[in-house]
Symmetry: C2
Subunit: 479 residues, 2 copies
């Protein structure tokens, strides 16, 4: 049995009473041939280990380099130095693994996020990424906890799908057919009957349609899984592979849906603030340092923690698309032609700059926009009584833009069929989806939260590539 | 605001005091033009609703058919009938959605699991599948809870990977290249530089290698995500798309690994027994009914609940591969040539029939087999001092076979490099994996649990297609 170590996070909470303990971790720094800062990933706070002068062989001390791994047994004593309450007086130091300081790419200095992305396999060893991924964990756990407490059922919707129904964007093909001597039909087209699944298949862009099948039986469900877009978007907000949470609820209307989404976002932010205060403090400081390099008018008005508290303590602003268009059209921004895309009137799709104006300049808080024009939204959204808007909602967050998209779903079979026809959605492919409207249809609603965008919001990381362990983007699938 | 209903599960726990409540759900049965059994997916127990004779119009009553959806407001009163403590005396009945009994495929009678698989979009509405998917949810939540309590970090490893390093089986290609006019290099080979990621990519078969990167920085991590095998296996235990949990721990040896795995399995079983007793009772009865149709010698020795309790209350048997071979070679089964694959001696790979013999006939409890011959195991498993076995472990469960596979990982760079060379694993592709051995390598270990096999074990469902909402198997990617 190897694992009799104590984690540094736990150890730092103990009173120093000369108790003997064993820790294991990686060296962050080694000062004066005497003071080792050891980190084991449980916290950003390093444990100070004192190797008293003359007590250890020079050959051993030489091997205590940045990122070498150690097993240290000693006694926990009060620290005389600044910056820590306790320290470990080493009795035995064992080198578990060496690290050649000439070759190790991470030095105890500031590296750019771009450089760290190239060594994503090692960036877990930095304070920034250790905090980001501990926060990512906490958010994921909070999501499951929130839904579990409410009696939602976690549903794994399929990753590989044959349906191209949602038309949410370009898709990745999944296949076992060869590019050479591809099986062909008589007319020369590819014979997908020979493919693994007997038909053409893709990676899912959303689990919503399958989620609705479960919700219209189990009542309230949610998905939490990877989704994919084969879009050639090289931005700080897009990934080809990302994770989505998609709750779907029977017997909900649009207002119920918005209430749930707002409560959900607040719950998971509060959970992280309660459980990861140290990580958030670190990330807040990092963000503040980063912003110091920006011109005054590009800096955030609030610090990270302040922003999260603000979201917790304020009701999200709710307004209709129509109201939003009025505000935008009458804004000084629009009149002074500061928008790249001018406001052309009702019916236009909102651009990211418009959403950010509403959130960051006008309301200065998260906004729930509701009731969009039917023609700019998906086929499954419920037609409102006005005959021109649908019961859709987007939640827009400061600094991020759209973080949630949702709607009440069209539960009326005849209205849905007409909409699908108008929008060229093939109804024979979606026979199973339509069955839920044929047999005991119910009012229902749901939304999707982009997990990485939520992490960006909570951690203040500007680039979405820095909140997922191994980002997949155009021309990049390293590791 | 639509959602002022109370869930039936909650309602059934209330004392009947003529309080007015609103419920919504789907009709299971309607007897004597008076008694509606309503189900809303929160529990298998239906709510009895009494529509007093003469109080509702005939035209309304006619529409109360199996699977029609209702909104009912009334008062909760003690039930005079058998089988329930309370019932709802209806004041208002609203039909939310009709269901044509001539067309609705699910009738209030027993359907075969094969038939239900063809209408997987509706099988959520049966008691069997509602229970299976509520148990699936509970198991998933218990898994996150277990690791969260221990300070593990949940890591999302990539689904799309460029590495074919593990060689765990055939893989699905992920591509945006067309089959017609595929871009080609001068030598005629496919030009994958033109593919979305600039190289050839596949769906992951395991997140382990990436998990190790995180563990050797954060200490203890786990993954929980979809994995894929493009194997043409049409069995009751194989899916092309399934979910795996892969914890990976720095500073663990094989014994620590086995201890964690055993504690983990017991924790999640106990969680489900504590939280889903009603579902398990239902599934136990279902299994018992199903087994009545089998000849005596094919039936399980224990009922479902009994089996789960037995696993909770007994230590898993731990033995080496070498000891297992001895037991098998000397067994009457082997001597009487009852094995399809006879025991040929040390070094052979164990077949499922051998594993089941050990678990079901010999030890009659879960077994942890350790220290397998190096040549039948993966390159990353740690070589033992004997120079011929590796620190691998498989956990075998009654009725299922292998449920966990794991090992201590080879942390010694030189040993690992030699092994990769011997096994033709390209080391230049895995430079990032090897870096963890170059810079502060540590003893570490991990395992993988097949989520669907675990659900099969807990629910007693014989076919793996019946424990995932929409199974993907050869020639099948419906819904």
């Amino acid at each position: 049995m190897f694992n009799k170590r104590i984690k540094i996070k736990e150890l730092l909470q103990q009173e120093p009473q000369e108790q003997e303990v064993t820790v294991m971790g990686w060296v962050r720094t080694f000062r004066n041939n005497q003071f080792i800062a050891l980190n084991d990933g449980s916290t950003n706070t390093n444990l100070q280990i004192v190797a008293e002068l003359g007590q250890f062989e020079e050959s051993l001390l030489k091997r205590i380099t940045t990122s070498a791994s150690l097993k240290v047994t000693g006694t926990l004593v009060p620290s005389l130095g600044k910056g820590q309450k306790v320290e470990l007086k080493a009795r035995v130091i064992e080198i578990l693994g060496d690290s050649d300081p000439e070759k190790y790419p991470l030095q105890p200095k500031k590296h750019s996020l771009e450089f760290l992305r190239e060594i994503a396999h090692l960036r877990f060893r930095t304070n920034t990424f250790a905090s980001v991924f501990r926060v990512r964990h906490a958010l994921a756990f909070a999501i499951h906890k929130f839904f579990n407490e409410k009696g939602f059922v976690y549903i794994h919707t399929p990753i590989i799908t044959a349906s191209d129904a949602e038309g949410a964007g370009e898709m990745f093909r999944v296949t076992t057919l060869p590019f050479d001597n591809t099986p062909r039909n008589e007319d020369g087209s590819v014979d997908f009957k020979e493919d693994f699944f007997g038909k053409s298949t893709n990676l899912t862009v959303s689990g919503q349609l399958e989620g609705e099948l479960a919700a219209t039986a189990l009542g309230e469900i949610y998905t939490f899984g990877p989704t994919f877009r084969a879009e050639n978007s090289n931005t700080t907000r897009h990934l080809a592979e990302f994770w989505m949470i998609e709750p779907e609820m029977a017997f909900y209307d649009l207002e119920d849906n918005a209430n749930l989404a707002e409560a959900f976002i607040k719950y998971i932010i509060k959970y992280v603030m309660d459980h990861n205060a140290e990580d958030l403090d670190f990330l807040a400081k990092r963000l503040a340092d980063e912003e110091k390099q920006l011109p005054q008018d590009k800096r955030s008005e609030m610090g990270l923690i302040e922003k999260l508290e603000f979201v917790l303590n304020n009701q999200f602003e709710r307004l209709t698309y129509t109201e939003a268009i009025d505000i935008l059209a009458n804004s000084n921004y629009n009149k002074k032609k500061k928008f790249q895309y001018p406001i052309t009137g009702w019916g236009m799709d909102l651009q990211s700059e418009h959403e950010r104006y509403l959130v960051e300049k006008h309301f200065k808080k998260p906004v729930i926009l509701m009731n969009y024009p039917a023609q700019i939204k998906a086929f499954y959204m419920r037609m409102n009584d006005d005959g021109k808007t649908v019961a859709a909602m987007d939640i827009l967050a400061p600094g991020i833009g759209e973080i949630v998209g949702g709607s009440q779903r069209e539960e009326r079979l005849d209205v849905l069929l007409k909409k699908m026809k108008d929008m060229n959605v093939p109804d024979e492919e979606l026979w199973w989806y339509l069955d839920t409207r044929r047999f005991g249809t119910v009012p229902h609603a749901g939304f999707g939260l982009g997990f990485e965008r939520m992490i960006q919001f909570v951690t203040g990381m500007n680039n979405i590539r820095d909140v997922i362990p191994f980002p997949r983007t155009p021309k990049n699938a390293e590791f």
